[in-house]
């Protein structure tokens, strides 16, 4: 795996050395490292010639640009009204019990972070969750559990 510095350089090279590249660069770091470390934010500031506070300002605005350490797999269960009506609480509780973490926490082995999210755009097929970029609609607690177990097996 690349060092953070090398990764930032590569992303800046690919997206261009302008302010307009800030989002894709930050998104690229999160893709690889699951969150934006202080080191990463400082590297980006240096490479794009921006104030570090400016970079942090942008990063801290967006839900998907985490500035605290996250697990390799980030689970986001939709909590908005129709998913709520279709039983998102059961899904959250089931995953919370299985992973032994509360919402907002990361497992000790750093494999999973459990989060809730605002409307994911699957209101007709709720409850729904995202794991990283993948979407899993029409969940039951059993189904959610099986999906997460698959991820547990394939994550090292």
């Amino acid at each position: 795996m690349l060092t953070t510095e090398a990764l930032v350089k590569e992303l800046v090279e690919k997206n261009g050395r302008t302010r307009n590249s800030l989002m894709p660069v930050l998104q690229g770091i999160v893709q690889q490292e699951h969150y934006l470390s202080e080191e990463a934010l400082l590297c980006v500031a240096k490479e794009l010639d921006l104030a570090a506070a400016d970079v942090y300002g942008t990063a801290s605005f967006y839900t998907f640009l985490d500035t605290v350490p996250r697990g390799k797999n980030i689970i986001r269960v939709c909590k908005t009204i129709t998913c709520h009506m279709k039983g998102k609480d059961e899904i959250v509780n089931t995953l919370s019990n299985a992973l032994k973490i509360k919402v907002g926490e990361t497992t000790h082995d750093k494999k999973f972070t459990l989060l809730t999210a605002n409307c994911l755009g699957w209101c007709h097929k709720g409850p729904v969750m995202l794991i990283n970029d993948e979407v899993y609609p029409e969940l039951t607690p059993q189904k959610a559990l099986e999906i997460v177990e698959e991820y547990a097996k394939s994550t090292h």
């Binding site: 302010r19 605005f61 967006y62 839900t63 009204i81 605002n118 409307c119 209101c123 007709h124």
Partner: protein, 388 residues
């Protein structure tokens, strides 16, 4: 009961005899002014919710001087209860690309961007492939226009057009003051057309079938059809393209479960219509306009929970830039909780309604301005459920 609800198939229609690229070829032979006239004549208004006439938006941008202009497709679909843009992006992306290219030709733009919400990143793999083919087809035709993707990162407010530009420019997604409007100074402060996904598909289809067929649908205030996202207590949730201007009771007859108590029209930022008003509510610009979200609630649902859910949503998604919205959303949420617990008298709800009035006047963007829509319509129609 008689039901006149008219289902339409324009957005998702696949015509092998006339692909989006062929519509493009045909359309680019016409003058930009003729295309604008057709769009204005069709009566097409923006399908994202705000409903600005599309033809005028294109005309204003065309009339701006300057070599650099942009076309942006707003695919930051985040309104609770809305999922139609995802289906359109997944099923007929070429129609979106064609609409953007026609727009680029009309206004004189060489670059187009699709701002896709981060929650839809799973669509990208397939979309990138189709976009590459489309961009190559443009290159082969010597059409000087290219389309690119930009991803969002989970911020509802970025669906607000000026916040979307800020995000594309690498900044916090905080809405700008208007004017200037995007047609004058949008992305990179250049003249910009920003249209919803569905609007762009309709522009392609109006260029294909002519304004007459589109105009024949709907009412004089709400021309054409619209894709609705139907969810909640319905046996048949999903995507439906329907003629605009329908009475709500016909919609409920078709989609309700026989026990419908209320319909939230237009998502969390829209209006809640109770059963007693189904008969005299029209879905369209003359009644209640909507970006397509139709959430159905039956009598087993607590409207307190519904409102609480919406207010939590707005409290989290308010960008925090302006005080009326940042503090207002928090206080509305705390306020209904206090009334529910009996710590505040029921009359406190009227003070909170006044607060939404202040937010409507003083908030900087549509987010804070529209929180009063769900708040007042739920408080007015289901007051007893909020108090007890």
């Amino acid at each position: 009961m008689e039901n006149n609800l008219k289902k339409v198939d324009i957005i998702f229609e696949v015509d092998d005899k006339c692909t989006p690229l062929e519509v493009l070829d045909k359309t680019l032979k016409r003058s930009a002014d003729d295309i604008i006239l057709d769009l204005i004549d069709s009566g097409l208004k923006g399908r994202g919710g705000a409903g600005f006439p599309t033809g005028l938006k294109w005309k204003f941008t065309r009339n701006e001087s300057g070599d650099v202009k942009y076309v942006i497709c707003n695919a930051d679909e985040g309104e609770p209860g809305t999922f139609k843009d995802r289906e359109i992006l997944d099923r007929v992306p070429e129609k979106i690309f064609a609409g953007m290219t026609i727009c680029g030709y009309v206004v004189g733009a060489k670059e187009g961007y699709i701002y896709l919400r981060g929650e839809y990143n799973f669509l990208l793999k397939n979309l990138m492939k189709k976009l590459e083919d489309f961009n190559n087809a443009l290159k082969k035709r010597n059409i000087d226009f290219r389309i690119f993707f930009k991803s969002g990162s989970g911020a509802y407010v970025c669906g607000e057009e000026s916040a979307l530009f800020e995000s594309m420019e690498g900044k916090r997604g905080e809405p700008r003051n208007k004017p200037p409007y995007p047609t004058v100074a949008g992305y990179n402060s250049k003249p910009t057309v920003i249209n919803n996904v569905e609007t762009l598909v309709y522009t392609t289809m109006i260029c294909h079938m002519g304004p007459e067929r589109f105009k024949a649908l709907g009412t004089s205030d709400s021309r054409g059809s619209k894709v609705f996202s139907v969810s909640g207590d319905t046996p048949i949730p999903g995507i439906y393209e329907l003629e605009l201007g329908m009475p709500l009771h016909e919609f409920v007859n078709e989609f309700g479960d026989g026990d419908t108590k209320a319909v939230q029209v237009g998502g969390a930022s829209g209006h809640c219509v109770p059963r007693k008003k189904f008969n005299d509510t029209i879905i369209g610009f003359e009644g209640i306009p909507t970006g397509g979200s139709m959430m159905i609630f039956n009598s087993s649902r607590s409207m307190y929970n519904v409102l609480h859910d919406y207010l939590e949503f707005f409290t989290e998604e308010s960008c925090g830039q302006c005080t009326p919205c940042r503090v207002g959303c928090q206080q509305l949420l705390k306020g209904i909780e206090a009334v529910k617990r009996g710590e505040r008298p029921p009359a406190y709800l009227d003070d909170l309604k006044k607060l939404t009035g202040t937010m409507k006047i003083a908030a900087k963007c549509g987010l804070g301005q529209s929180v009063g829509n769900p708040f007042n319509s739920i408080i007015d129609n289901f007051r007893e459920e909020i108090i007890y």
